[in-house]
Amino acid sequence: MIHSITRRATLLAAVAITTLPLLPRMAMAGPTVGEPAPDFLLPDQDGAMHRLQDYRGKLVVLEWTNHECPYVRKHYGSGNMQSLQALAADKGVVWLSVASSPEGEQGHVTGPEAKELTEARGARPEAVLLDPLSQAARAYQATTTPEMFVIGRDGTLLYMGGIDSIRSTRPADIERALPYLRNALLAAVEGRPVEPSVTRPYGCAVKYAPAA
């Protein structure tokens, strides 16, 4: 009660003094829609290096993946992911799958394993990027597999979030869900604003390599 009385009088000074020793920590710089998407330099399944910058002038889709995760299996097992990849290829959009699991964790793949998986699942990514040190995952603050990003021709982030709206492992839900990624991709291709541009990603936690 006394506090509330005196607080009024001393509010400004109090705020200044009490926050002084606790100067705000810098916020984690994560990806932000409308801002340049974080760059990366990663090898693909054949050892070729890819940089986001290399794709200026093209639309890019990033797909965080872990082929053993039930949520990823929902979309590959049903063919949904492959059809989105085919749609992207048809529209000249670059699709990059990113595997960020470190060695020894679920979802870790080597180059040959990645190729084999692509073949076996009939997938059509432009490349599977190997990120076993989780560097790209950290730059994008990826939280789940799958998690999707759409990047504009000028390198601006246009969409981040879920592949669709129904958080589940049931393939039957795909048809009923709002196809967030598909809509974002088509909007970006046609030059329309992406709406919604941020959605909740759902799935398994991204397996991070211990911070270097």
Partner: protein, 724 residues
């Protein structure tokens, strides 16, 4: 019985789930045809290396149309976890899809307060070990006793360690229908524990706001204090509002707490909703559901919680804060007095000026040390005293108001006191160095309420340090506050810059009386908040007597030897009457504080428990402490409610309260006997003999009322207690 032979389910959980459901359906159909369903309180378990899950019923028998509770009970293997309604950075909450007759219904699955589960840089919200999610089901109204009510539900949940496994099954539970529902002792504790683990409605005012990617959630209201809240975490109900993994800096003051939040990338809703989990000094955790309207960033609470400052920083901030205290409104009236004192020093010898300045600084520093020392002692004794504690006593506030008035009257020239340097009254008005010393002491007494919000970081850190360091911080605070006067001591020539004393000084002195009257008015207002209108009346009557005493004293001073006695006598009498009013003020403070089960509470003792039980009365024992937030919330929402008090009265239950605020070996022993390290502990003893029922640490009214039922039957036919 229906779920055997699916050891390989996790290879293809969905397929197995489907196959299983088909199997269950036909098996059940067969069972119905042959013999009718077997009744059970708990379904056959779904088991996997990660979990063992059942559907469990609180009701042993259901009544037509009468809601009852089911629970999804998950026993989770070590290292694995399942998820809250907002799973955090990844994961999925469990879901039940009921298959019920058209005129039956099922409510929403209820989620107990979650834990924060870290995974690399990510944070999930969920459960480990065991959890029960209650859900209310209402059977059809046209059921007839003797029939069976069968609940079928598809269940899905995700269980994760480093990898995630979705698990899916169907549960079936057949319950007998009877004219009135009946709970069962076997599952009652499970549901009591489940209910206790659900977040309760918050009893505080909640505000939140963001600016850029920073934000603050602020709760204010009674029961919040640094002892009541040692840890807190806010679990957001929605995704994308705040960063799940960001640390939430906690600050707790008296009656308020704040958490620093970091904004996430999702859209900002109109209200920030979620659950705050709070741990008190006794280590007991409780959770509250809250909704905070989003507006401007609310001010952080005025004290620190988890973060301590290093000693040198605390000392530095304390000194700086002390210096700035000179500009605070609380100290202003005292500074006015001091200013007059300094002015009076103008033109005096350097040595005199130096000694006066040093006396003042010494008064300030020693008073700070004394206050800190008293506070340390109080805390050592286990009392929940905070900085500025003296202002929580209406007696102190009234006495200070009168002192301010007396000083003001002195400055106005109603009466005179002391020698040449006199500027104050009472002790502070003693002529020489004692006068300066006590002016310093007075300044500190009045300044402390200002220091609380102002010096939050330093004083907060100070009390988390060893006592020697605490005292060092407060000494620094005093030195900072006295610094401008210490300057006078080292550079006495500064005083020469002041004009020579003269009539202007008299005028200044008179003008400075008004801040003193203002301060007295402010204190009177504080008193109305603390002690109500009656308290104010007493304080004003006292003020009248003080003014009268000052006037009488002034007359005595003006009169020669002859009139002096009468005047002084009248003044002394008036002061005595004023002082006699003070104890009455204490009586006026009582009505505002809510006491535990005020109607019938007696202090606890083992002997009294035995005696009451022998008289045929059940006994409810409430072990509590002033600093125990769980206790206070329990009292407010479950014990001090009209329904509970009525039920207690109807069953003739006697309530005994054991106050552990200051520690008590007898209470400590009782706690230990029940395997508890601290309060709260609630024991419900049946009348006569028999073991007490131990209630959960977190109570709701229905938990108390349910526990009361069997105990009430033990009561002898005694009239409900009518003592007042």
């Amino acid at each position: 019985m229906l779920m055997k032979g699916h050891d390989h389910w996790h290879e293809h959980p969905r397929m197995i789930g489907k196959r299983f459901r088909g199997g269950a359906g036909s098996a059940l159909g067969l069972a119905l045809l042959v013999a009718g369903p077997a009744h059970a309180l708990e379904s056959a378990p779904f088991t996997s290396p990660q979990t063992s899950v059942t559907l469990v019923s609180e009701a042993a028998a259901v009544a037509p149309g009468e809601p009852f509770r089911l629970g999804l009970r998950q026993k989770i293997s070590p290292g694995w976890h399942t998820y809250w309604s907002n799973p955090g950075d990844a994961g999925e909450p469990p879901a039940l899809t009921f298959d019920l007759p058209a005129d039956a219904s099922a409510g929403e699955l209820q989620f107990p307060a979650p834990e924060r589960i870290e995974y690399g840089p990510l944070v999930n919200f969920g459960y480990e070990n065991e959890v029960v999610f209650p859900v209310t089901v209402t059977p059809p109204a046209d059921l007839r006793p003797g029939q069976s009510f069968t609940v079928r539900t598809d269940a899905f949940w995700l269980v994760c360690k480093d990898i995630c496994i979705p698990e899916e099954t169907s549960f079936t539970l057949a319950l007998p229908v009877e004219p009135t529902g009946r709970s069962d002792a076997a599952t009652a504790p499970l549901f009591a524990a489940a209910e206790a683990s659900l977040p309760r409605p918050s009893v505080w005012l909640a505000e939140a706001g963001f600016e850029g990617d920073r934000g603050v959630l602020r709760l204010s209201g009674e029961l919040l204090s640094p002892d009541a809240v040692t840890k807190a975490f806010f679990f957001p109900a929605e995704w994308g509002v705040i960063e799940n993994a960001a640390p939430q800096e906690l600050r707790v003051g008296q009656g308020e707490l704040s958490l620093d939040l970091v904004r996430a990338k999702g859209e900002l809703p109109e209200r920030l909703s979620g659950v705050i989990a709070v741990t008190d000094a006794a280590g007991s955790r409780s959770a509250y559901a809250l909704e905070a309207p989003l507006g401007p960033v609310p001010p952080a609470a005025s004290s620190i919680g988890s973060t301590g400052l290093p000693l040198w920083q605390a000392v530095l901030f304390a000194a700086l804060g002390g210096l700035l205290l000179n500009l605070m409104p609380c100290v202003f009236p005292i500074l006015a007095m001091k200013a007059v004192g300094i002015v009076a020093l103008a033109g005096r010898a350097d040595r005199t000026i130096r000694l006066h300045a040093l006396s003042y600084v010494a008064g300030v520093v020693l008073s700070f040390l004394a206050l800190a020392g008293v506070l340390l002692l109080l805390k050592g004794a286990g009392m929940a005293a905070g900085w500025g504690f003296q202002f929580t006593s209406p007696l102190f506030v009234a006495a200070m108001a009168w002192l301010m008035l007396a000083v003001g009257l002195n400055l106005s020239g109603v009466y005179a006191l002391g020698g040449p340097v006199s500027a104050g009254s009472g002790l502070a008005a003693k002529g020489g160095h004692a006068g300066s010393f006590f002016t310093g002491a007075l300044a500190v007494l009045v300044a402390t309420p200002c220091t609380a919000p102002f010096m939050a970081a330093a004083t907060g850190a100070a009390f988390a340090m060893p006592p020697a360091a605490t005292l060092a911080v407060f000494a620094a605070l005093g030195l900072g506050m006295g610094a401008p006067y210490a300057l006078l001591a080292f550079l006495p020539r500064l005083a020469r810059l002041l004009p020579r004393p003269g009539l202007w000084m008299e005028r200044l002195k008179q003008a400075l009386a008004f801040p003193m009257y203002g301060a007295a008015g402010w204190l009177a207002w504080v008193l109305t908040v603390q002690a109500g209108a009656d308290g104010l009346l007493l304080a004003l009557a006292g003020a009248l007597l003080v003014a009268f005493a000052a006037w009488a004293l002034g007359i005595a001073q003006a009169a020669g030897r002859r009139g002096a006695w009468a005047g002084r006598g009248a003044a002394a009498l008036a002061m005595l009457v004023a002082l006699a009013l003070l104890p009455q003020l204490r009586a006026a403070e009582a009505p505002r504080t809510v006491t535990v089960a005020a109607a019938a509470a007696e202090p606890w003792s083992e002997a009294r428990v035995t005696e009451l039980r022998r008289q045929g009365r059940p006994v409810f024992v409430n072990l509590t402490a002033a600093w125990c937030i769980t206790c206070k919330v329990n009292e407010r929402v479950a014990l001090d409610t009209a329904a509970t008090q009525e039920a207690f009265a109807a069953a003739g239950v006697a309530t005994l309260v054991g106050d552990w605020t200051n520690g008590d070996p007898a209470i400590g022993a009782l706690l230990q006997r029940h395997g508890r390290e601290g309060v709260p502990l609630y024991l419900l003893y049946p009348a006569g003999s028999g073991e007490p029922v131990v209630l959960p640490q977190i109570l709701t009214q229905s938990i108390v009322l349910q526990a009361l039922e069997p105990v009430a039957r033990t009561a002898a036919q005694v009239p409900a207690p009518s003592k007042g």
